[in-house]
Each structure stands twice: as structure tokens, then as C-alpha cells.
Subunit: 558 residues, 2 copies
Amino acid sequence: MPADLSTVLLIERHRGTLDKALDAVRTRAYWSPYPEHPKAYGDGEEGKAAFDALLGKRFDLDQPGTDGWTGDERSPYGTELGVQYPHPDPDVLLPAMREAMPAWRDAGPEARAMVCLEILARINARTHEFAHAVMHTSGQAFTMAFQAGGPHAQDRGLEAVAYAYVEQVRTPDTAEWTKPQGKRDPLSLRKSFTAVPRGIGLVIGCNTFPTWNGYPGLFASLATGNPVLVKPHPRAVLPLALTVAVAREVLAEAGFSPDLVCLAVERPGEGLAKTLAVRPEVRVIDYTGSTAFGDWLETHARQAQVYTEKAGVNSVVIDSTDDYRGMLNNLAFALSLYSGQMCTTPQNLLIPRDGIETEAGPRTYDEVTADLATAVEKLLGDDARANALLGALVNPDVKARLDGAAGIGEVALASRAVAHPDFPDAVVRTPALVKLDGAKPDDEAAYMSECFGPVAFAVAVDSTADALELLRRTIRDKGAMTVGGYTTSAEVERQMEEVCWDECAQLSLNLTGGVYVNQTAAFSDFHGSGGNPAANAALCDGAFVANRFRMVEVRRPV
Amino acid sequence: MPADLSTVLLIERHRGTLDKALDAVRTRAYWSPYPEHPKAYGDGEEGKAAFDALLGKRFDLDQPGTDGWTGDERSPYGTELGVQYPHPDPDVLLPAMREAMPAWRDAGPEARAMVCLEILARINARTHEFAHAVMHTSGQAFTMAFQAGGPHAQDRGLEAVAYAYVEQVRTPDTAEWTKPQGKRDPLSLRKSFTAVPRGIGLVIGCNTFPTWNGYPGLFASLATGNPVLVKPHPRAVLPLALTVAVAREVLAEAGFSPDLVCLAVERPGEGLAKTLAVRPEVRVIDYTGSTAFGDWLETHARQAQVYTEKAGVNSVVIDSTDDYRGMLNNLAFALSLYSGQMCTTPQNLLIPRDGIETEAGPRTYDEVTADLATAVEKLLGDDARANALLGALVNPDVKARLDGAAGIGEVALASRAVAHPDFPDAVVRTPALVKLDGAKPDDEAAYMSECFGPVAFAVAVDSTADALELLRRTIRDKGAMTVGGYTTSAEVERQMEEVCWDECAQLSLNLTGGVYVNQTAAFSDFHGSGGNPAANAALCDGAFVANRFRMVEVRRPV
């Protein structure tokens, strides 16, 4: 039976997009093929209806080795999703996935890239449906779920496909090699080079950004020829189940085994990720989540290439500014967005205890802290706006940490509960700002640990030099996904850069407008550095894709 | 003080060579800037004199943290080298090396590449001197020590520089990012991207190919901004000490700290590699040697990126041939070269017990084995030619294994001692060929282990299909740096390819002329695949360089 989706057709449809993506990662200029405005995708009623139709039902994927059904997702907005997913028997599923490998390998890098782009295009067309699924698993507000869970996640997936493609085709398919031998006949060989996959790629999803953090690894592994088994966070299955369903549909239409992409949902408390991670068939692992489990994977899954994004402690060094209001508003937004539940949200604001210089004169540490508290209050004063920005707390652990924050130090800004008009059971909270002293050992125990969620620390330091030393130590010992800095001094700016170059962290300087330290744009910004304890990989670069396949050479005499 | 070697001067001198190297790795066509004929480097008297002048003396490198002198190299050709090298105190040396990092990082990828090419050019100019150093540490015959230890090693170093350079410059130094915001002003950021090194690169050298196996890691790490500490095999220090001396000289002339490249020679039995490998300053490790220590490094040096080339079991599947004589001569040469002391030398010749088809009719297993023995005897019948091909056994372990080979199975070809006219103490031996039965468990224990040195096994198998299954199992369980195959059947050829694609091994088919399975050419052939247990990296590809540095982004509003 001929495939409905021929490679020729797919090339016609998607090659131009791939080329633009390749160009974008070279120039790092702004680009995206996926609009981020919901209105670009219609009124959304169809997507909402599609989402509603999934609830309370079995989500059948027709995968091999299904030995039962499982699932108990509850929306952070309060409703039970009631979706049941296939539970896998790895002894049946993994061999079936391996079975699918040779044909996918033989298809070559371009055909694989085209199939990946078709998957992304179909996901993109269903962005409204995905947005509801992301919203009701992560607790993100709708607009953020739509953008970060939709087009921005799709961007990151496409970016991974672009890197994977270019990495594979930098070696030609064939070469003629002729070595002169003086007066004798030259030596001549014909060589062929084949990108071969490592084995099954396991993607271990997270609760907060199932698609955004899941797509890079999924598409990088798939585009380099590896089957991909997606093991979602048990609280955030639906967005990745939808993803797997679309991938399987496209693969089948393109004439490949749908088992190249499968879903593995665990029973409550089963610890399925641990079981799968050490299976010999699994040769690549992508993980986003806690440092403890990331370290476990790196230690135990020795048969696999392991790419981890773990926890870090993000700092902002506040030395001086010529736009005090802009700085406060920018930081207030950064702390509030998705209730601080981003791996990139700033946690420690390092402020000299003698205060800072601003364009309107000096401000003391207490003034800066109070002014920032006011900026947050103002930003979130209106409940509708607060709900649109904050979303809901993703799980009870985050709420417990927030509740404990008041006991850590002097509270400069108390968290406030916000009522949600549509979802009375949603736990919506504004961020808390707690004052700590950088020199006190008790305080250090708090600010040198990740306090994931809507808690920020205003850490009083002796000087900017002291702040930079603390920044260096924090990145080196705890890792950082982001670093922010505010200064009007070229010298201090240079010192901030030096620390970030030395300790390998991504730095945003003097953000006072509509770009926030916790946001990165695919094709241009690197997410994480891969060089400090917060993550061993960056999204996305050559290192993220180059070791997902190997190049096998066959040479013969001409 | 201005540097004697300005970047402008170095670019003028070397940029063309770098561009040609970049082109060669893209086309994989034959290319080398370093001639392989000794006569291209003069009569060699100067190089021999320079080598002689090193013997029996201290090799001073003027490194920080030298706390004594050590060295007890004895040439496999029988003479004591008597060279004493600085012994390092890591607590002084490693901090000094780290101190040198920022200026080297700030120099950028192109300046670093140019300095590396100048180092290689100066090494190249001293190829005769290096050849004697390689010969009298590895036991290679002079011509091989000259070529493999000289231009071919330099080629691999240059190849690593080319890959490292292109990997770093695929992201631009700076970018302007402007995101439209509908009717509002666009968001605009200026971004800078800096390739930052990971930390100190440790190169752990091997006894047999100190430069060829050492240069890729050394130059890949150095070109990506990392200082490099070279820890040679205690029996093969001199070629790498010379390398370090040249690198330090060039770095100083170019205005950088010479401590970017240092030497660490251990006292007898000290186990210095273990100590250095787990130091926090060491963030990259390149290792060639035993599987046991390679596994130890991968398990324990968790703070570092570890690139290992370990042991494997290389097989040749003999199904059929249309050039029986050519096949036998080619295999005879492959088994004899450097007395089989190459990680790429074939060990197991898998031959159907019912025999094979040739252009001159069928040949039984016994006939093929006997004919191969005869081909080896003929190739090495003349002592002068034998010495030129075999070199000396590198150390007593190899001789012990060879002596034990007679007890493993029926000896089809006994090893013969060859007298060396110039070096009466050299241990020169022709290879042994031992017959084993693929179906006997006792024999399996022998042929499924690496027997490093001049011992090959003619393994009788039930059929070509049986051979392919054994090949698959051998690669999967034991690893392989090379696989050879002889067949006239397109179907069998395809099956051999399938096995090598599935199990990730480099395949040479039907070599009957002047190219041998154990030789690879830089810029065209991959050495190892990085995808089976013999090695976790290949020389050289994107994966070999991409994770030696990270990209740090600094972004600011425009």
C-alpha cells in the first residue's frame, strides 16, 4: 500500500520551513512559522469542544503491549480530567518499537525531518485543543498555555529538528576518495555514510511545561532516527498523549510504523520512569524535573545518553538603573508570570544593603524592596489581570512551600489568594517577597536552595562586588537557568559578564520593557547553558543533537 | 609586550589550511596538508640528532608546580631513553592552568584555531624528531612511526581543530532580535554569544599511538578554549612531551600563557591518571586504553565529559571473493602491520566450515586458513621487510599473550622471532594464526575476548548467516573498532551492512589492494563509531567537539 504522505509531497509542503529554521538558528534573528495569537487559529470553539470530548474517556492509541488502563489527572483549576490511558508492558512495547527502527533509519535525515514537520504542523493546527490540555494539567493561565504550550513549544520542536537535520547531513551520503601514490595507480575507495540511531529515546515529561520541555528531546531523537517513548508526568499526561496520537497518525500515513512514537503512562506510585530508564533498549533520555531524579538518571542510566534539566537558583544582581520604574515593573512581571513556577523565574534578588543608584537618585535596600512589592501589588491588583498572569498553583507541594515562606524571613510582600471566576477550586496565589540577609548563615540555607514557586528573596548584600561573588557561588554550587543584572556601569556590566562566562550561565541585562528574564525565544535564545548544575544540556545546540545518532561508514574499492 | 605571533599574521599563514580542512570534512575526499613521505622533510639527520640530544637528560618545560623529576622509558627496541620529566603537584599546576583560561576564551574561536595550526605546523616541521620518539616508545617501525606518528597524527589534530572551529562559529558572535508586536513598538534585543570552555581537558595517552590517539582530544579541547593537561602513558612520554613543549612555545609567542598546555608524568605505580581524572578542575577527559580503566573513568569522573576508546574485538567475515590472492595478501598485511598492535587490527576471521567460493573455485576452511598462513609467511619471509612492517612488541604483556596463543587452539601459523640488525634486544614477532571452532564454548571464551597483539583466530562457523550472527553478537557485547567483509554476493553485502548499521560499526568491504581495514584517513574516514562498546566517541565528528564548550548568551535591550 503506498503511503498517503509521500516524501515528495512532504518536501513540497515543509522544506521551505526547514530552510527558514536553519537560517534562523544561524542568524539568531527573530523568526517563527507558528503565530502566537489565538485569533490566528480561529475562535477556538472547535478546539474547546475537541478537548471536552476527551474528558472522562479512554484515550486509545492502539499501541502494542497495552496491559491495562490508568490515569488520574486533576486539573489545577479543580476538575477531574477522567482520561484513561494505555498502560504498557515494556517487554512487548519496547521490542515493537525497536522493530520499527530500520525502516525509519533507512528513510534518511530529510524524510525524517519532513515527517517531523508534518507532525508539528498538525499539532499547530490543533493549538486551541492543546492549550486547554496544557492549561488543565499545568495550571497555566489560558493565554500562556496557548502560547508557551502551543506555538512556542512547536518552535522548540522545530528548532530541534533543524539542528538534528543539519548535524546528520554535514557528512555526505557518499564520497569518492582517491589518494595519489606517486607513479603508481592511486588508491580509490567509494564510501557511504549512514546516520544510525542509538536506540529508543525516552522522554520523561514535567508537570509545568509538558510540551515546551518535552518537544525538544522528542523531536531531536525522532529526527535522528530513534523511536521515542514518551513517559509524561502523571499530572500532565494529556498534552503529550495528544502529541503521541498526532505523531502516530502522521507516521502511519507516511508509510512508517506508528510505533516509532509511543506513550507510557504509569500507575499511581509505580515509578515507571526508573524501570524504563535502565532498559537496555533505551539509549537516549530527555528529562526535565527535580535534581534528585535527574542525578539518579545520570548515575544509573549508564547505557543511555542522558540530557537533564534539573533545579537551579536564579539570581538577579541589582547594582543601579537609569529606569527604576521600568526595572521594578519588569521584575514584578517576571516574578508573577505563572506564579513563579518556571525554571527560569528569578528567585534571589541581590541588592546592596546600602542601596542602589537610580535616575531619580539613590534608593535604599528597604526602598527597593518595598517599591518592588508595590509594583507587584499594582500589577496584580485587578483579579482578572492577576488570574490571566498567575494561573493556578500546579500542585500542593508548591502551595506548601509558599505557605512556609512567611517563616523564612521578614515578609516584604505577602502572598494573596485570588478568586477565579470560572474555577472556584483553583488555587491562585500572588508571589511573596521575603527579605533575607546575605551574611546570615540561617538565611543562606534558604536562599541557596531552590524554592520552586511564587517565592522570591530580596537578599541584602554588602556591595555589588559581594553580590557578584554570591552570584558566582550560587551558579557554581546550585546552578542557574537564568541570571539577570541591572547596572548603569560599564565596568559592573563587564564583571557580570565575566561571572556568567566563567560559571556558564545565560545573562539578561537591564530588562525594563516587554522582554522578561524568564522567557527565551526558540531559534535565537539558548534555554539553559548545559554548563552549570541546573542542566547538562541547552535548548538547542549542536551538543543536544550530535550524540543521538552515530555515523556508520561503509567503504569499498572503486 | 606585543606578541611575536599576532593573530593577523597567523591568519595569513593558516586560514587557508583551515578552510581546506573544513572543505575536506564536508566532501570526505582525500586531502592532507602534511606530506607523508619522509623525503619531504629533508634527509632526517637533523631530526635524528635532535632526538639523540634529548636522551639521558631532563626535559624541562618550565611548568608551575613541579615537585620532582620522573621517567623510566625503555625503547621496545632495547635502549633506555633516560629522559627525566617534571612531576606535577596538581594543587599548584591545575590552578595555574585555570588562571590562563579567561584570556584564551576571550581570544575567540578563530584565534584559537590559528594558534593550534601554528602548533601543528611546528610539530610537522620536526616530524623526523617525533618519528624517532614515537618509534622508541611505541615500538613501531620507523616508517610507520614517521607516518602514523607524524603527518597522520597531525591530520587528526587538524581535523579536530576544524570541527571545533565550525562548531563554535555556527552561532554568530552577535545578533539583533526584533519581534513585531502588532501596532505597538517591536521588542528589540541585542544578543552576544560567547563560546566558553568547560575547564581543564585531561588527555590520557596510550602506549602504542601516543600522538595519533592523543592529538584529537588535545586539539579539540584546546581549540574550544580549554587548557589541556597531557598525562602520557608512562612508557610513551617523549612524543607527547615534545608536543607540549611546542604548544607552550607557540602559546607564549602568541601572547597567551604557556600553561594552557602542560604535561603530567607519573612516578612508577603512582596512578596519577586516577587522581587527576576526578579533580573538580578537570571537566573533559580523552582516553585511549584498556576497557577496565575506560569504564572506571566513565563511572567515576562524573564531573567531566569523558571520551573513551577502549578495547574491542574486530572481525572479518569471509563469505566469498573474486580476488582470492588479493584478499589473502590484504589480510596478511593487515594482520602483520605493527604486529597486530592496532586497535583496528582484525582478530577474528569468520570462515564457513564448508569453505568459500572464489574466482578459482571453492576453497575449504582448512585451505583458506593455510593459504592465509602462507601469505603471511611470504609477506614476512624477508627479515628486512618483516622488520619494516612489524616493528617491535610494545611491552611484555603483548609477548606473554602471543606466547600463550599456541595453547588456545590448533596453530595454523606459528609466530616467528625476527632478528633486528640494528637493535638486537628488540622483540620482533610475526603474527600467529590459531584455528578455533565457533560452536565450541571453550573456543568462544578465547575469540570473544580481545587478544591484543599479533594473534588472529580463524573461526570456523556453520555458514555466512552464522558468521553474521556472531559478528552482530561480537560487536554488541564486545565492541569493534573495525569490521571487514569479503563477498561477491550483493545480498550478503547488504546483510553485512545491515549488521553494521544495526550495531554501529565501521565496515570495509572487499579490500584487496593497498588499503587495509586497520587504516583510516583523517578528513574522510571515521575512526570508531562511538556507538558500540569499543569506544564512546568517533574521530572525528560533531559529537566529539560539541560538548567541550558551552555557548553563553548575554542579551540587552537595544
